[in-house]
Structure formats: C-alpha cells, structure tokens
Symmetry: C2
Subunit: 254 residues, 2 copies
Amino acid sequence: MQDALIRKLESYEELTDADRRALRAFVPRLREVPARTDLIREGDIPSNMHLILDGFACRYKVLPDGQRQIMAYFIPGDFCDLNVFILDQMDHNIGTISQCQVVEIPRKSIDAITAQYPTITRAFWWCALVDEAVLRQWLVNMGARSPDQRIAHLFCELLLRMDVVGRVKDNSLPFPFTQTDLADSVGLSDVHVSRTLRKLRRLELITLHRRVLTILDAEQLKAYCGFNPNYLHLRNARWSGRRQMPWLNRVQGE
Amino acid sequence: MQDALIRKLESYEELTDADRRALRAFVPRLREVPARTDLIREGDIPSNMHLILDGFACRYKVLPDGQRQIMAYFIPGDFCDLNVFILDQMDHNIGTISQCQVVEIPRKSIDAITAQYPTITRAFWWCALVDEAVLRQWLVNMGARSPDQRIAHLFCELLLRMDVVGRVKDNSLPFPFTQTDLADSVGLSDVHVSRTLRKLRRLELITLHRRVLTILDAEQLKAYCGFNPNYLHLRNARWSGRRQMPWLNRVQGE
DNA sequence: CGACTTATTGATGCACTTCAAGCGACGTGG
DNA sequence: CCACGTCGCTTGAAGTGCATCAATAAGTCG
C-alpha cells in the first residue's frame, strides 16, 4: 500500500530490505479524506505529518481579497509537510483535491525511524529539497513562460512524478483538478486556461477528458515548453550533463 | 563580522555564548567577490557552501530563450545553499548583485559544527525552511498580486529581513538592484517596474534614489500590499495570532 | 570629459481579464 | 424516470493592463 512512497524514495536512494520493512511499519493511522477538505490550515500548530498514499492534494494560500494561490500539488507518495516540526506554525493551508488516503504520522515515529535508518533520513531530506526545487520551477514557470508553456510544463512534471510512483498507464493519468485549480496554480484566469487547453488539444499534444489526462506525445510536449527534468533530481535522470545556456554573468576568476 | 549571521539565527533560536563562539570560529576563507559575478552555476557539483557576510546576491535561472527569473535575494547573514550537500548537482545559479563578502564553508566544517551544537543545527534547518517559506511567498506574489503590490511586498520583506541583521538606518537600506533585476524577480517588464515605482513614489510610500531605498511609511506600505510577516517565522513576530480568512474548504470533521 | 549603463516617458498593439450567456454532465429529490 | 439545480467547461464580446519598441535623459565609471 505504501509502495508509492517506497518507489519514490528509491528513485533517490538505494534502499535495503530493512529500510523497506521499516517504512511499511508505519501505517498507524490510515484515513480516507473526502475531496476538497483541508488537512491543515494557516495558523495551526501541527502535531503530526501527512503522507498521501492515494489521491491528490495541494498546498495553497488565500489572500484577504479571496484570491487563492496554489503552490504545490501532492501526489501519492508525497509528504505534505516534512518540515512542519521545525517551524512553529503553518503559514499556509494543505487541502485535498480528490478523495485521498492519508496517513498521519506522529512526530515520534519520524524521530524514531530517522534515528535508526540513516538512508531513509537522507531520502526524507532529499524529498524536502526536491519539493523546494519544484517550487522554484513553479516560480520560473509563472515569471518567465507563456501561458501555454506553463500548462505544458506542469503536465510534463506531473507525468514524470506520477510515473515514478507507477501511476501512469498508456501515457494517461488521473487528473481531478478543475480548470480553476489550474488557473490558481499558474496565475491565469480560468477562462484563459480553457482556451490554452484547447490550443494544446489542437496541437495534438494532450487529451483531457473526464478527469483523465493523456499525453499524446511526451517528447513533443517537453520540447514545446523546454522541459528539463534535472530539478526533480531523480537518480536515473537522463539529462545529467550540463546544459549550454546564454549565461549573463561571469564566473569567479574568469 | 559575522554578526549578521548571529543576529539572524538569534531571531530564530536563543543562542549560548558557546554557540556564538563556534559560529565566529568559521571564517576560514573570506573572499571579496565583485558585483555581477556567479558563485555557482547550474550543473555544478558544489564542494562548499556560501555565506554572505556583506552585500547582496541572488538565486536565478536562465531559460533557453534568455529569459532570466530571479528566485531569491540573499542579504548579509544568508546561506546561499544550505541544502547543497544533499542533492547532487545545482539546478540553478547563484550570483552576486553588488560586491559581496562571501565565506566559503567546506562541508566538513558544517558537519563538525552540526555534530556538536544541536541548537545551531536547529537554527540552520530553520534558515532553510524560512527560505522555502519566502519562496512560497514570492510565488503568491507573482500569481495573485497586482504589480504595485508585488513591488511593495518585496520592499516590506526586504525591510524586515534587513532590519533583523541590523542593516536598516532611518528606514533606509542599501538597494543595489537595478529595475531590470526587480523586473526579473516579480515577472514584469523593466519599463513597467519603472512606472510602478513612480506610482509608489507619488503615493509617498517610498523613495528610491542612488541605490538607497527609503520606506517613508512602513505601516502604510504594509497595509497597501497586505503584508503579513508570519511566513518569516521570526521569534518575536507580532502577528502570531491566527488570521481570519474566507476559507474555501471544509476542515476534516466539520 | 566621453562611453556606457540605467532610468524615464510616450506611443502602439495585443494578450489577457472580466463579464455574460449557453451547454453538458452529474446528482438529488419528487 | 424526468425535472431541476449545481458545477465545470466553453465561447463570445468588450475593455484594459502590460509588453514592446523607441527615443531621450540621467546617472555612473573609466
């Protein structure tokens, strides 16, 4: 059941059988959470951590004027808030998109497992840092890419992340996000998201129907938005080489 | 000389004299780095960490088409890349804005100090998590705020962060960023940044002249952009209370 | 002082937002 | 089973906010 988590961690670090057993041991409180439900809210002082085993959730903020900004998508195998024990209180919300299977892990369990299994600890930190790298990529997305490239990039990322946890079949994946969710993720209006999706469909890059997203031509879609998966820091990434780019700055000593 | 770092850490955790001595001990390699110079580049496999003692630097990416996106500003007392030893290779660049005093800290020193001083370790992680929270706030900024609010919010953040490390005098702080830098940070054109600054000047909220930024009325500026410093997670923050907001979702169990 | 970078201002155009109406899918209750 | 309401998606029309281009002015550094 936690295979999503284990698969994800294995894309970062090589795990031993003991590691895997230890991970399987913590299913203490599995819960079904309905769609569109908050797991934690801004201001809360959290007492345990959430792990998504199935379904989709997101990290978001709401501004005083009602504007919502989604800052991350959580898919099976993702920790929502690894960091949560260090900082004092939540500065944002975490809520489900679809119905989810969520494990609540008390702080003690985390402390116990990290004390005993250094590889798992490393993999956990790796997760946290990859989450941050994804966040940076989202910022680049909004600041520097055109609307169609933004959406395309988001789809590329989701395809790859879902593939890592074995949730992609025939280039298709469940996609419970509404167009308004998408709009609040990439900083566009929902109307414009609709038009953008039409464009991507016209180009025969994707299909999105009845909450299933199909990537018709992954290579072309990646080329379309300049997708470079290096920021996901997967072990067996292809693009490990350094990219040539028109650097603006000198390097020290040049 | 590292007082910036110590002051910053003390805004998160209470440090002992021993902690402070340990921090002062690592000035191994202080370097003057000229303005507009990269410290690390995408693809590099870094061997040591950078700490800014004086000056300004930033984290950025450059897309194939030459578009630059700045993702973070570093001010005195900031670590540029605390995380760097865990992930394999850099997925972005770090470069100076102004001339900087930079300390390069070898991995070993970090390992040594964290092994011995748990409070410092905690404070280091705190730093990393606050950096991530700032990043989230930047995403909200770009996705959900108007251009003038974006700039105003950025200024509020900078004012507070600079104040923590004792770099604000008479509501003024050094501001070596060009308008193009600002534009690449908030996702606008440089022309529009210029017009936006004019507006903020007209409203008598700020003054920006000869690389010095003055906040004429901090409270009004905060109100103007809805600034809430909770995401900086400072110990003596005022707004520790929970905010009322028009939540969209139910909470579990409601 | 002269060369170069940075900032300002105006003019033009279009990409995106907003507003509004229609439509299909879905669920609920009569 | 159909009527109805809701929600999400689509499409059109209109307005505008921001980008782009371009030329001048101000500031900075050799």
